[in-house]
């Protein structure tokens, strides 16, 4: 096991014409983690992923994936990574098995065996020989995931893997993700689902091509504001605090005759929205 993080990005910038898709991304992902990327559409999540997998050359900045520059060492880096794009990007007229086998064949000598194992992992062993165009949207996503997993990469990039699939299937996906990280894999997952962000070991909030903050979800939640309502002497008082765990004992100690206390903490979604809005206001 090496000491370097699985991913390190320093000041990555990438523009498409006049649009700054990435405007100085700083990021570090430790090995063995599920790392979530969240943020509004157009925040740069997909561009960042495509840069990290070496599909896009950044205009400036440094990227190291598994200790290597993904552009200069494409061959070595790509042998160790799996990528699931936002759209399934499969050969619709071919079967799930043939798709997975084909993508596995780039790296392994036993693609047929790997295809069987990978399709079993995503729960599609019984549909392996169905042409992809006959499968539902959720099943296509699972085939796409199987393609990314087939060569047993150390590092997985999954771009909105659960977009458009039902909550039950989403649960199946996340069970699989946890199984993979338990086996030592590192995963970078972009999502719009806050419930999924809470499942990650760390989460980066992206906005306008930058990472606003990267923390574990619990720390992020603790950074959220809390609305504290205190009843005393028959009257109520509402106070908004930034650091609830420190502020609440102090507020109670300052006030006597407290009859009742209600605390409403920001959800992760509210925290993300507030940070994004604050950032927008700051750049307006």
């Amino acid at each position: 096991m090496t000491n370097h993080p699985a991913i390190r990005a320093r000041g990555i910038r990438k523009s498409f014409g006049s649009i700054d898709a990435l405007a100085g991304v700083e990021l570090e992902v430790a090995a063995g983690q599920i790392f979530g990327l969240i943020g509004p559409n157009g925040a740069g999540k997909t561009t960042l992923m495509r840069t990290l997998v070496g599909a896009l050359q950044p205009d400036s900045g440094e990227v190291a994936v598994l200790g290597l520059d993904p552009m200069a060492h494409r061959r070595e880096v790509r042998a160790c990574l799996g990528y699931m794009p936002q759209d399934p990007a499969l050969y619709e007229d071919l079967s799930a098995r043939v798709n997975v086998r084909f993508f596995a064949a780039a790296h392994v000598h036993n693609p047929a065996e790997r295809a069987v194992a990978s399709l079993s992992f995503v729960g599609l062993a019984d549909r392996a020989d169905y042409p992809v165009h006959t499968l539902s949207g959720g099943m296509k996503q699972r085939v796409s995931l199987a393609c990314a997993l087939a060569h047993q990469p150390d590092l997985l990039f999954l771009d909105e893997p659960t977009a458009g699939i039902d909550p039950k299937q989403r649960e199946v996906f996340w069970d699989g993700f946890r199984e993979l990280t338990a086996a030592g894999k590192t995963m970078v997952v972009s999502t719009h689902q806050m419930s999924e962000a809470l499942e990650c070991d760390r989460v980066a909030i992206m906005q306008a091509g930058r990472v606003l903050i990267a923390e574990d979800p619990q720390t992020l939640l603790e950074r959220g504001r809390a609305t504290i309502r205190i009843w005393r002497h028959g009257r109520s008082e509402e106070i908004v605090v930034d650091n609830y765990s420190v502020e609440l004992p102090r507020l109670l100690a300052d006030r006597g005759g407290v009859e009742r206390v209600e605390v409403q903490r920001e959800t992760l979604e509210q925290i993300v929205l507030r940070m994004v809005n604050d950032d927008n206001a700051g750049h307006a």
Binding site: V53, A55, Y83, A89, D93, H109
Partner: protein
Amino acid sequence: MTTPATHRARAIGGRVLRQLRADPRFVAVSLVIPLVIIFLLKVFFDAIDVPMFDQTRFAVPGAAFIVHFVTYILTALVLVRERVGGTMERMFINGYRQLEIIGGYLAAYTVLATWQSLLILTWVAFLFDLGYPIVVYTQIYLVVWLLSVLSMALGILVSNFARTEGQVIPFIPLIVVPSVFLSGMIVAVDELPGWAQVLARFTPLFYANEVLQEIIDGGSLGDAWRPFVALPLLTLAVLVVASRTLREGR
């Protein structure tokens, strides 16, 4: 962990062939349409009925042109479809490389082109009652086959400059129309202005037509070895440019 380039090119070729098998309509159209066009050509020639007009001199080059035209367009479209669908980028990120992709496609479509050339030449021989000796047919077949491989290479090259299927359309006349006028099929290249004679050297059909005319006139491949060798050389040159310009992204 990785596999050799030949293994990966074979995987791509195998996958493309499976796609062809899964799409019999595409295969049928690419095989049948040239036959229909040649049949219409025969009807047209019969209607002209000009004395001294030797149909057979135009039949084989005409068939070569149709192989060139159909193969070029189909290859370009199929590769652009791969780019539009995101599978091109996925192939690259998954570790496949330019030369493997081009080699795999070329190998798979060569199978189709081999059958297509054979079918078309048989059809032309039957319709126009050519009655050449078998050695002449073999040489003609070799030339048409080489032309179809070159046409595929051109299709691959052109697909690199199109991001949608629609963007392929302007490239079709760009290659096809000069081929007709500059290849010597209709007007002898010597009678064209100097600049057009130079331009003619860039059209694959020019070389194919030179060799085919020689063979039809009773010569052999050896008599027209220069244009004959030009076909694989041009294919190689186009493939080198195609592999250099094949981009990962959409």
